[in-house]
Amino acid sequence: MHSKPNLLQKKQNAVLQLLSTEQIQEKLANPTISAVSLTFPITNLIKKQKFDTNPSLLSYSLTSSGFKDWYADIETGSSLDLPQDNLIQLYWDVILIMESQFLYDVSHLKKFQNHLIDTMGTRLRYNNSKTLRDTRSWRGLCDNYMMVYLPLIFDDLIWCKYDSVYLHVVLPPIESWRKNDGKQSTCKEWLLSLLELSNSLDLQYLRLYLRRNDSNTNDLTTLLRNLNWIGGRILPNENRNELFDTDNNDRNGFDNLMLGDENFVILEFES
């Protein structure tokens, strides 16, 4: 029973391992940098491409203008310097980790992985980059996937995906939140950094997925109680009964049965 959850953990460890390059570590050691993110389009999954398939590295740091902002790290450029096969493996792992956040039972991870590869393959075959997508729901696969590391706030990576309108962000479980020594400002700090990230990607909305079990903890209670004040709103969870009523071919059936957002409180902010 416990071996399956470990598979997901292994994937996360593998991602962290691949990110432990000298260049990235050097960046994280830089005290002026508050966060880094690595983002890639799903078209990078296609093998034998001529163009550079390294992920884009963004840093969140104090700019010369006096405030923190995200900027693309041109200097570091191809930061990971990995063989393409390893890169592609990394990308699949990131996509799997992000999408499996909504998996009810991680013991079905292997089956879900096969399903995901199948679905993503279909999407890539019919991908039309000229079409702007509006993937409101966490259910849809996105054109871009992303990892964010906010080391001053969270121990774990933050998994994200986006198309042209929404940045979907799954916050790590509360165990990985760093103790803030009673400082009240951390909530504002991480929220602002994610809002700025969403803005720098030219997206209009940030959707945050907070684990429902964590919603009674101080940090999240503070966020929820200030939600109106800071321009956020809660979104209803999906109605699973309605999903069961829709056409139920095999693929939809798997999606509907195995995935759900009941374990999350979903918040939305303009960015």
């Binding site: 405030f67 503070t222 109106n228 809660i234």
Partner: protein, 459 residues
């Protein structure tokens, strides 16, 4: 009351002049607290303070509720098929505005749009000369589309993303609050023409929604911000504060006004910046306690910012203008008996925290369910048809229509009647932070009809 006020004046005149010194002087602070407590006690004892500003239009609200429920019951709807609905009394908003002008004539209200962005309400408020406090791009757009000048908007989101500031600049919305250095740098870069309000932290410990806990600059950090304002050559025009919503101790208003005066003086005396022109006294005003809060505020303003002092006064009321204007009606869609006890049950109704009652989660509101329709009779006028205490025989917990554990309207309430599926409840005074979640933001459909009464009443 006036005697107490005089004594406070004398105490303060004898005390040190700056708050920093005062906070270092325990004796003086205690003395001030003592007199403030005395003033507050005397205020609360004044029967006029306990009086509500005006009577709500119960007969008309009742009539509107009954007509709608009758029409539903006469239709062929099955239980659960009919949505909840609001009755909105537009005359209540007019009365509230009149009352504001009576109690706080010197203060120009900037209605907090986030509280209820209903377009008809916004239009009515705009026509009455109320200005607007906006917290998002969407809110600014909404107000500008009403034809309201950007000069009548203050942008007061405490979590400012660069794009918001750029948007405000593009729309020529100049008034904006700030409470940290980083925001000043953003404003310098994207909107240097801003008319800035330094938001100071207040004692909001008795408020239900505490805002200063996270937002607002402590007085000991004001110097850093003023120095930065000067260095960046920004246009600081005023000070703002917010004592939080649902406060029970309004002496915090007095203290906040006093703190604001401290900053006003500091700006001129220590930083040689232009004299500030506007004081923003924030929000947190409520119908039930308005007489008390406005009395304290008047007293503080008369002392620190008397008429003719050259400072304009503004405020950011939200719930005051809308809470009592809305009544929500919802009906029972399911019932489950608890522990085989006929006098204890779980009632499920067709509205909840994901519909029009997210104020429960995020605004600390505790809606009061009252029986509207049961056993073929209407019970609107029976204000004792329910109680939060065991004064009525039927104990219920009340839940929204989703299967979500958060969707709980009340864990324990007592009803006079044993409601069944198809019966109706109503929730008075539910206009603040309720329908805002259900308005058609981002394509989500509005989930409740609104029946307007007294729509055509002249302004």
């Amino acid at each position: 009351m006036s005697n107490v006020k005089v004594e406070i004046h004398q105490t303060l005149q004898n005390s040190t002049t700056t708050l920093v010194e005062m906070t270092n002087s325990f004796a003086t602070t205690t003395e001030e607290d003592k007199f403030l407590a005395q003033y507050m006690a005397q205020l609360k004892a004044d029967p006029k303070i306990a009086e509500l500003p005006h009577d709500q239009a119960h007969p008309q609200i009742s009539k509107a509720l009954q007509e709608r429920v009758r029409s539903v019951n006469e239709d062929t709807c099955d239980p659960g098929e009919e949505n909840s609905f609001f009755v909105c009394d537009l005359n209540e908003i007019r009365n509230l505005h009149k009352n504001w002008q009576k109690e706080l004539p010197r203060i120009q209200p900037y209605y907090a749009v986030k509280c209820n962005p209903n377009p008809l309400i916004l239009r009515l408020l705009a026509d009455m000369g109320v200005n607007f406090d906006c917290a998002s791009k969407l809110e600014i757009e909404t107000i500008l589309k009403l034809g309201v000048s950007p000069e009548r908007i203050i942008y007061a989101n405490p979590c400012k993303v660069s794009s918001f500031i750029r948007f405000a600049a593009k729309q020529e919305v100049k008034k904006s609050t700030f409470d940290n250095v980083e925001e000043l740098y953003k404003i310098k870069k994207f909107h240097p023409e801003s008319e800035l309000f330094l938001r100071i932290a207040t004692d909001d410990s008795t408020a239900q929604c505490r805002l200063s806990t996270k937002y607002g600059c402590d007085l000991e950090n004001v110097d850093e911000l003023l120095a930065k304002v000067k260095e960046l050559d920004l246009n600081l025009v005023g000070v703002s504060f917010h004592v939080g919503s649902g406060a029970s101790d309004f002496s915090s208003l007095y203290k906040a006004v006093k703190d604001a005066k401290f900053v006003f003086n500091k700006v001129v005396d220590e930083y040689q910046l232009p004299k500030l022109k506007i004081l923003d006294v924030g929000g947190g005003f409520q119908f039930e306690t308005f007489a008390e809060s406005s009395a304290v505020l008047r007293m503080a303003l008369d002392e620190f910012f008397p008429e003719g002092c050259g400072v304009d006064l503004i405020a950011e009321p939200g719930r005051y203008f809308v809470a009592t204007a809305f009544t929500l009606a919802a009906h029972v869609i399911a019932k489950r008996t608890v522990n085989n006890n006929k006098e204890e049950c779980m009632l499920y109704i067709n509205d909840g925290v994901y519909g029009n009652m997210n104020c429960i989660l995020f605004d600390h509101q505790e809606p009061n369910p009252r029986v509207l329709y049961h056993d073929n009779k209407f019970h609107y006028e029976d204000f004792h048809s329910s109680s939060p205490k065991p004064e009525c025989p039927y104990k219920v917990s009340m839940w929204g229509p989703t299967c979500d554990g958060l969707d709980c309207i009340t864990k324990e309430y007592y009803l006079k009647y044993d409601l069944v599926v198809g019966d109706w409840l109503y929730f008075p005074n539910l206009g603040a932070y309720t329908s805002s979640a259900a308005t058609p933001f981002n394509g989500f459909d509005q989930t409740a009809d609104i029946i307007y009464i007294n729509k055509e009443e002249p302004l």
